[in-house]
Symmetry: C2
Subunit: 232 residues, 2 copies
DNA sequence: AGTTTTGATTTGTGATAACAAATCAAAACT
DNA sequence: AGTTTTGATTTGTTATCACAAATCAAAACT
């Protein structure tokens, strides 16, 4: 009863570049656009417009949008219209609360089995961030994301990773569209995270990450308040 | 401007009652079926078969399945075939770890503002569970679910609730398809949860819930091991 | 003038059909 | 006899079209 084991090797090597459907391409494209601030909070996601700009038919777009709504990256209004969510301060706090739980856990897990080269790569990203000139908010956000996910991937928990990704997706538009006063303050937070991971200290890793999220979150909240105050 | 009114009569009368789209109906239907053990782990979800049995076209099914894959309720194989996941022990432990984080947090939150009628309703469900005769696994699971979600809804955090739902969706097939030795042990756990909530003690609520998940999880894991051992 | 009504347009939703990739089974071959 | 090849069938993917509900703008009315 040994059937079809012969082809496995060949096929998997051929399929090295996994078949990517249009569906997935559109989904991934929209996803990264949302995460990197390609759409302003509140903007409508219209099927036909997106389809045209991506040069595909309605269907893949429809599919991708449906998925993004499920993971709360997009929001469906009662009219069945889909928008990029405008995050209120309460919602942001709600997200931060969960982020601290999940990302803290991921950091604690990561501290138990980080490899030296992960530490090295974290340090490299850390240096890049420190050397960032001026208020390059977009770059900062991208590098910050790179840093954090290097930690979370080291946790080796696909479940945690996917849930954390979904949370970042929800706050992506906020980070990229609220003007934030960037200080070098965040750098010390990252340094403490690296140290805790290097020492294999789970408790310290969770604490360092929690503080990083709290501090960063406070800056966002301040920006949110300031953004709401002035005349519109 | 009369185009094609043939089918309108039936449809509009139905739509007067239910306000939801076919899309959502199929999604919700599949969702509850999965959660309540309607499909065995490993079984394939074929679009056309499902469409026929639900009396709809391929599209709503396709859409619903896509969403369920995103929330990990279903798993897409590299062949692009979709199955109900077979949960390994490691995966189950991974899920339990996250459940403790999120559901513990929800319990802690709930303890801060439970209303007396939520407590009353919890007690009612608790009694029902205790009076459950024999090894009625399906009913136990359904009531257990009712109990826990009454707690989580009291947390008043839509984000937490949706993430927790997604986790239950992932373990639903396991609970309903692995024969578990039901004892009245779980009852004491629920009693402690009610007490902690009633006292408004967040720490105790989190602890009680954590212990409940640990104890229950241990029973499942034992069943999983026993289920893997014998000849199939 | 301000409100309502109506008609046209835009939007999401759903069905059908054409297509491509994977699977399976029988025939052909060594 | 066992393996390969081929052809048919099944499965997921995508485009196109038809429809319904919501939206918007202009006309009609009070």
């Amino acid at each position: 009863m040994v059937k079809g084991l012969d082809k496995v090797g060949l096929e998997s090597s051929l399929r090295a570049v996994e078949r990517e459907t249009l569906n997935d391409r559109v989904y991934r494209e929209l996803r990264t656009m949302i995460m990197s601030g390609g759409f302003a909070p509140g903007s409508e996601m219209k099927l036909r417009a997106l389809a045209q700009s991506l040069h595909v038919s309605l269907m893949p777009v429809r599919d991708a949008i449906g998925r993004l709504v499920v993971e709360r990256a997009l929001k469906m209004l009662p009219n069945h219209r889909v928008i990029v969510p405008e995050t209120t301060i309460d919602e942001f706090l709600e997200i931060r609360r969960v982020r601290i739980l999940l990302e803290g856990e991921a950091a604690a897990l990561a501290s138990q089995h980080v490899s030296p080269d992960v530490i090295a790569s974290l340090k490299r990203i850390h240096e890049k961030i420190k050397s960032l000139s001026g208020n390059k908010q977009r770059q900062f956000w991208a590098l910050n994301q790179e840093f954090h996910f290097a930690v979370y991937e080291a946790a080796k928990s696909p479940l945690l990773l996917s849930m954390i990704e979904s949370l970042w997706l929800q706050i992506g538009p906020v980070f990229n569209h609220i003007p934030i006063n960037l200080t070098s303050e965040g750098a010390r937070g990252h340094h403490r995270i690296i140290a805790a991971l290097g020492a294999g200290d789970a408790k310290a890793a969770r604490a360092a990450l929690t503080e990083d999220l709290m501090k960063g979150g406070d800056r966002i909240i301040a920006a949110l308040i300031q953004d709401k105050q002035p005349a519109r």
